[in-house]
Symmetry: C2
Subunit: 382 residues, 2 copies
Amino acid sequence: MRKIGVRQIAKLADVSPGTVDRALHGRKGITESTRRRILAIAESAGYKPDLAARALSTGRVPIRIGVCIPQEIQYYFGQLLTGILTEAKRLERLGVQVVCRPTARLGVEEVERVSELLKEGVQAILIVPGDPAKLTPILDEAEKENVRVVCVDTDAPASRRSTVVSVNAEVAGKLAAELMSSFVASQAQVAIITGMLNTEDHAKKTRGFCELYPQLSNGGSVVEVIEAHEEEEEAFQKCRELLERRSSLAGLYVNTVNCLPVCRAICALGLSGKIALITTDLFRGMIPYFEKGTIRASIHGRPFIQGELAMRIVVDHIVNHRPLPPFYYVPPHIVLRSNLYVFRETGYTDGVSSSTVASVAHPAAWEGAPQQTVHNRQDEVD
Amino acid sequence: MRKIGVRQIAKLADVSPGTVDRALHGRKGITESTRRRILAIAESAGYKPDLAARALSTGRVPIRIGVCIPQEIQYYFGQLLTGILTEAKRLERLGVQVVCRPTARLGVEEVERVSELLKEGVQAILIVPGDPAKLTPILDEAEKENVRVVCVDTDAPASRRSTVVSVNAEVAGKLAAELMSSFVASQAQVAIITGMLNTEDHAKKTRGFCELYPQLSNGGSVVEVIEAHEEEEEAFQKCRELLERRSSLAGLYVNTVNCLPVCRAICALGLSGKIALITTDLFRGMIPYFEKGTIRASIHGRPFIQGELAMRIVVDHIVNHRPLPPFYYVPPHIVLRSNLYVFRETGYTDGVSSSTVASVAHPAAWEGAPQQTVHNRQDEVD
DNA sequence: CTGAAAGCGCTAACAA
DNA sequence: TTGTTAGCGCTTTCAG
């Protein structure tokens, strides 16, 4: 049984292959009646287009994806970028190319970088919008010119961006609250150390926590919310002061990635393990504090995954026309001491060839650091 | 910059495309010297063959992936399959085709299905090996004939399978233990309800839990481990009996997906919310028990992700020759009441167009069920 | 041993 | 509105 293609359909319908093509794709320049006739024939003949042939014919226009993310906070945005590039590499065969125009810091010269990307003729832009207000016009402009804008990690809600890939900040805050309430005694007092409350993400996490914790803790309360502006020294001083002022404090929720100074303050006052500390995200510097029991849990947004995912969905959209839903919320992971080493961010997992959510084996998960597994990269022609 | 293909290589080497083809594919009828010359040129030019064109020319789909998973336990293996197919669809443009040979139940007629797949000429097999002992010979045979075998969800450790995608069962058990110890009071007695201890996965989870719980609970202990053999009625009866016998029981860890009967038993005895129940995986039937507080947490292996990942890494291996590490452990998610609705398995997330780890927005995460977001599937003629 | 040329099934530009 | 035709990049057959 021969494979049936446009040619045979054309023969059956007594038209030319061109007309069949028009019918199949709803192109203009064909009578409604013949279109329906052809469609019916195609249907009944069980026509399945040959994707390979189509791909070949359409001429694989290289897919250029622009990337604009900050270079600072390496362990966070670095992971994000790695995720993006890992996926891009995987999709190389599809003709995916990435064009990077990083910003020095979050929110700095973003508009300039984006306009450079647009000049490069990208079909989509992955961006961490640090200054959504300023960006909105150019992002809207991009979308109008049919360039898909995908926000990553944080949103630009006022813009027409196609979608956002991020954690649901409110859920992250609530998760922390739920965990906290099971770590501390009834009626316990806890506090939050945040970055800046005018940052959407920080505010939402704080709000989520403050909303849920009192409900679950039997009369417990959030006694203070402190802004540390992502500064190491400021965080350390304020935290130390807080702990001295509030000796009754049973828990602390740090909802930005700036948790190290807090850990140091806690240890300095001999409170490690005595006060329940819940942090955000995960990087190697946190490991000793997990091991000492200073950090009880962390709500991890997994930037690597976010990067991978953003790249994946945007290419899927461009190549296969899969629609982009307005939000892609990735479920944050809860990192405890017992699952610490399954996360690639600890560096004990396979960081190169490993795919998205996975890591390689490391038998000694609980007790200390297992050996790192290394894989050789095979580079070949074909 | 034009894409470089056999034609340009031919021009560079001053030979014909035919010769380039011979060189690239180690075909006979070419001098060793010219072959090496051509290969060097191809290499330095960064030649990447166009899979679509090759597929069209040879008339064969370049990448066929066989899938052999059980049809039973829909909510689990169904999710796994959906993940596999979702990813396959995404990779369609690369010429990926899947061939399904499902088994009726886990461990039944697996060898037959695998041998059918081998006859189909697949390049790789994704399999949930229910009966590893029986499968080992044929899996080894497959690998010997250069067919990659990827175990999913559970392993066939004695075989030469290329890799396994699963959760690290021991870590899952330890996670449960760590959570349990923070849910219950010091020195609390807890019990485990499992499936069959001769199933690798169940045994490892049980072991992980039993090892860690006593260490973290200040003298608490695991007083019983009950096998329920994945039977609803058996689980219900045994659990009920257990609860009556041990009135001091503070926590229960169910490490198979068969948690509903346990929930019912707990509710029947009026212990909902009084005893800390930690379950495994996630499906819609569990939602009411989360909402009532019967289930305190669940360790979720995310079969959808495992399926997606398995397909992804195997195609990446075939297409880009990325090496397959011997294990791919996916970090299990901890499901609590506050993050329940971010998981696609609850049905409140976007189950079709959504990608791997993501879900769409649902503002009311804590309080009851938010509205379901629906995306229209784009059904195309072709 | 190497070159030339004919497609694979589909799309798109141009002709009728 | 419809038909014709020239490729897309690779493989393969048949001459040279």
